[in-house]
C-alpha cells in the first residue's frame, strides 16, 4: 500500500449528504476481478450522459458537462470535500478503488459510512473527519476561489492553505500509523499467529460445535 504523508491538491466541492457507494461506483462494474481500472467509472451514472458497462469503450461515451468531475480544474482534483455520511450503504471496496483510480487521495467530510471508512484506510486513501464548521469554511473557500488548493499533512493532522488558514483534524493513532507507513496489515496480524492459535484451541474446547470441519 502506498504510504501517505503530505499531499497538496485541488479541492472538489461535492456539496451533498449521504453519498452512497452505489453512486460512487455503480453495480455494473462490480463484475471486474481486479482492484484497478475503476477510475473511469467513478460516479458513472452521473458522469456520463449515456449508460455504460464493463464492455463499453470509454472513448465513445459522452461526459456530462454539468457534472463537477468533468469540469476543469476539478477533473484533476485530488481532494474531495463532501457532507455527512459520505460512503454510506454497500460495503463494496470498489468505491474506494474508483476514487483512488480517479486520483483522489483525500476525502473530507463531517462523517463517513463505517465500512467505507475502513476500506479507505486499507487502500491508502485518507478519510478526514472534520468538524461541521470547518467543512462549511472549506466550502466557502471553494465558492470564493474555484480551484482552491489544500495541503494535507497527516503526521501533524492539519489541512492548510498559505493565505486562508489552517484546520486541524484528528485521526485515531492506529489508522494514522497504517496510512503513514503503508503497512501490510495481514503481515502484522500474522506476527500474532501464536496468540490466534491459542485462542482458537480454547474456543474449540469450549464450543466444539463451531468446528465441524
Amino acid at each position: 500500500m502506498q504510504p501517505f504523508s503530505t499531499h497538496t491538491g485541488v479541492v472538489i466541492p461535492f456539496d451533498r449528504r449521504n453519498v452512497d457507494t452505489d453512486a460512487i461506483l455503480p453495480k455494473q462494474y462490480l463484475k471486474m476481478l481486479e482492484k484497478t481500472g475503476f477510475g473511469d467509472f467513478l460516479f458513472d451514472d452521473e458522469r456520463y450522459l449515456d449508460p455504460g458497462d464493463v464492455e463499453t469503450p470509454i472513448s465513445g461515451r459522452r461526459p456530462n458537462p454539468a457534472f463537477i468531475l468533468n469540469q476543469p480544474p476539478y477533473d484533476k482534483g485530488s481532494i474531495l470535500l463532501a457532507r455527512d455520511n459520505f460512503g454510506c450503504g454497500s460495503s463494496r471496496e470498489h468505491a474506494v478503488w474508483g476514487l483512488v483510480g480517479f486520483g483522489i487521495r483525500v476525502v473530507i467530510a463531517p462523517s463517513f459510512g463505517e465500512i467505507f471508512y475502513n476500506n479507505c484506510i486499507n487502500n491508502g486513501l485518507l478519510p478526514v473527519i472534520l468538524k461541521l464548521a470547518a467543512v462549511e469554511e472549506l466550502f466557502q473557500c471553494c465558492r470564493e476561489h474555484p480551484g482552491f488548493e489544500l495541503t494535507v499533512d497527516l503526521e501533524n493532522q492539519t489541512l492548510s492553505h498559505p493565505a486562508r488558514g489552517e484546520w486541524p483534524f484528528h485521526m485515531e493513532d492506529g489508522h494514522r500509523k497504517a496510512l503513514l507507513e503503508g503497512l501490510d496489515e495481514i503481515g502484522l496480524t500474522l506476527e500474532r499467529a501464536e496468540a490466534i492459535r491459542a485462542f482458537e484451541a480454547s474456543r474449540r474446547e469450549r464450543e466444539p460445535w463451531l468446528f465441524t470441519e
Binding site: R92, R192, A195, L210, T212
Partner: protein, 470 residues
C-alpha cells in the same frame, strides 16, 4: 461482575489480543463469501503466497450477479459473459483454496444471508463476516455479524481475525403488539426514518422489547438486515426459545447431546439485567402503520396514510436541498400523498424479504387476484433454492403464477440489478428490498421500499396502496 450487554459479551468472547493502538484482534468464527467481493481477496492471498487460515470456517455461494432464470445449465448457462467469468472465478478460487461452495446448480444455493441461517451455518454466539453490508442479518441469532470490505475479507481468510474497535451500545426497544398487516419491515423502516441513515454510526444495535420477542426468526432477520441502512454495521437480537427452535435440526447445527451442551452456552447470549446502553430508542409497535419510502435514502420514509414532506417545513437548508434533489429524481411533489402513486414494476425478493414467511404473506394477499395491467413486470425471487422448494411444496408458486407474477430462481436479483433484472430509466418500482438509492435498481430507476404485503397490494392495484384497505 458488571452487567454486560449482549454486544459486550460477544465482543469479549472473541477478543484474541488487545493491540497497542487501542483496537482489538477479534476472532471470526464464520466467513461467508460470494462472487462479487471475493476475487481480489483471493488474488491478494495468491500474490503473497498465503494460505487460508481455516478453510472450514468459510463457505461460498454465488448470488449477486447470477441470473434468476435459465439456471439449468449452471455456470455455463450464464449469458452475461462478464458475470459468468466472475462466478467461474469463485468456483476456481474455492477449489484452489479448498473452501466449501454451494454452486449455482446446488439446491442449497441462494442469497448468502438466507442460506447461512437456513443451513445452520449461522449459530448463536458466533462472529460472522461477509463482504456485504447486509451481514447484520445474522445478528438475529445473537451473533456479532457485520459487513466488511474486500481487504478485510482477505485479512480474515489469511488470519481468521479482524482488527476492530469496540462500538458503543444502542438498544432499540419495540414494545406493544403489531397491528394487522404491519410487519417487521415496517418496524425497521420507521426506526430508520426516525434516527436517520447515520443514526446508528458507531453503534452496535440490539433490538429488544415485547414486539421483537414475539417475532419469528424470519422477522428478526428482516430487522437486523437493515441495521446498515441506519448506519450500524451490526444489529442483533438476544437468544431465546424462538432462536433455539429455529436452529435445532439445521444441517450444520450441533445434534443430540452436543446441541444440549450448546444451548447451555447460548442461554447466556442476552443483555444482563441493568446493562448500560449508550443510547436507547423506544417505539410503540402498536402505533405504527405500513411504511413506504418516497425518496432516495432509506430515511426518506413515512406511513402509508401520510404525505411527502413539504419543503418549506424544513429548517435545515442542507436537508431541504437533499429532499428537493430526491423528489426531482423520483418525479414526485412535496406534499403529495403516497397512496395512489402509479407503478411500473414490482420486486419481491432480496436478503431483507425473500424468506418463506414473506412469500406466504404475499400469497395471502394475491391469491385469487391478478397483477394489475399497468404493472409490466412483477417478479418474485425466492431467497434460496430451499425457500423456492418449500414454496412449491406449499403451492405458493401456483398462486403467484396464476396472479401473473414471474416465479424465479434464487439470487439478489433486482435488489441491486447486477444481473438482467433491473429497472429502466424512469421506471417506478414497489420493492421489498433495502435500498432506494439513485440508480440502485437500474440507472434512472425509482424505488419505493415497502413490506412484502404492501408490495403485493401494489402489484394488484398498480399503485401504492394501503394493504389494510385492499
Amino acid at each position: 461482575m458488571m452487567a454486560r450487554t449482549l454486544y459486550d459479551k460477544l465482543w469479549e468472547n472473541h477478543q484474541v489480543d488487545d493491540l497497542p493502538d487501542g483496537s482489538s484482534l477479534i476472532y471470526i468464527d464464520r466467513q461467508l463469501l460470494h462472487e462479487v467481493t471475493s476475487p481480489q481477496a483471493f488474488s491478494g492471498l495468491r500474490m503473497q503466497h498465503r494460505p487460508v487460515w481455516r478453510t472450514g470456517a468459510s463457505i461460498a455461494v454465488p448470488d449477486h450477479a447470477v441470473p434468476t432464470r435459465g439456471r439449468e445449465a449452471g455456470v455455463a448457462g450464464i449469458a452475461d459473459l462478464v458475470a459468468r467469468r466472475q462466478v467461474q472465478r469463485l468456483t476456481d478460487n474455492c477449489e484452489e483454496f479448498s473452501i466449501p461452495l454451494f454452486a449455482l446448480d446446488d439446491a442449497r444455493q441462494g442469497i448468502v444471508h438466507v442460506i447461512g441461517p437456513e443451513q445452520g451455518l449461522t449459530l448463536p454466539g458466533m462472529t460472522i463476516v461477509c463482504g456485504d453490508s447486509h451481514t447484520a442479518t445474522h445478528g438475529a441469532f445473537a451473533t456479532l455479524a457485520m459487513g466488511i470490505g474486500t481487504s478485510d475479507v482477505e485479512h480474515v481468510l489469511a488470519t481468521q481475525t479482524l482488527k476492530m474497535r469496540r462500538q458503543k451500545n444502542m438498544r432499540v426497544i419495540f414494545d406493544g403488539q403489531l397491528s394487522p398487516w404491519v410487519t417487521p419491515k415496517d418496524l425497521v423502516m420507521a426506526m430508520i426514518g426516525r434516527i436517520g441513515t447515520a443514526g446508528g454510526t458507531g453503534y452496535a444495535i440490539e433490538y429488544a422489547g415485547s414486539a421483537i420477542r414475539a417475532l419469528s426468526m424470519e422477522g428478526r432477520m428482516t430487522i437486523c438486515n437493515m441495521s446498515i441502512e441506519a448506519g450500524a454495521r451490526a444489529g442483533m437480537v438476544a437468544y431465546d426459545r424462538v432462536t433455539e427452535d429455529y436452529v435445532r435440526g439445521r444441517h450444520y447445527a450441533p445434534k443430540g447431546d452436543m446441541f444440549q451442551r450448546a444451548t447451555g452456552v447460548w442461554r447466556d447470549l442476552v443483555s444482563d439485567e441493568g446493562a448500560r446502553f449508550d443510547r436507547e430508542e423506544h417505539f410503540d409497535a402498536g402505533a405504527l402503520s405500513p411504511q413506504v419510502s418516497w425518496g432516495t435514502s432509506p430515511e426518506m420514509v413515512c406511513g402509508i396514510s401520510e404525505s411527502i414532506p413539504r419543503l418549506e417545513a424544513i429548517d435545515d437548508p442542507g436537508l431541504r436541498e437533499g429532499y428537493r434533489r430526491a423528489l426531482d429524481y423520483m418525479a414526485l411533489e412535496p406534499g403529495q400523498p403516497l397512496e395512489g402513486i402509479e407503478l411500473d414494476k414490482v420486486f419481491i425478493g432480496s436478503c431483507t424479504n425473500a424468506r418463506i414467511e414473506d412469500l406466504r404473506a404475499v400469497a395471502a394477499v394475491v391469491e385469487g387476484r391478478k397483477v394489475h395491467d399497468q404493472i409490466h413486470q412483477a417478479l418474485i425471487v425466492p431467497g434460496s433454492g430451499q425457500v423456492r422448494e418449500q414454496a412449491e411444496r406449499e403451492g405458493l408458486d401456483r398462486i403467484f403464477l396464476d396472479a401473473g407474477f414471474e416465479w424465479r430462481a434464487a439470487g439478489c436479483s433486482m435488489c441491486l440489478g447486477m444481473n438482467d433484472d433491473r429497472l429502466s430509466e424512469g421506471e417506478r418500482c414497489a420493492s421489498t428490498s433495502n435500498r432506494n438509492f439513485e440508480g440502485r435498481q437500474g440507472k434512472g430507476g425509482r424505488t419505493h421500499l415497502m413490506s412484502p404485503v404492501m408490495a403485493a397490494a401494489a402489484a394488484v392495484t398498480g399503485a401504492i396502496t394501503d394493504v389494510r384497505e385492499l
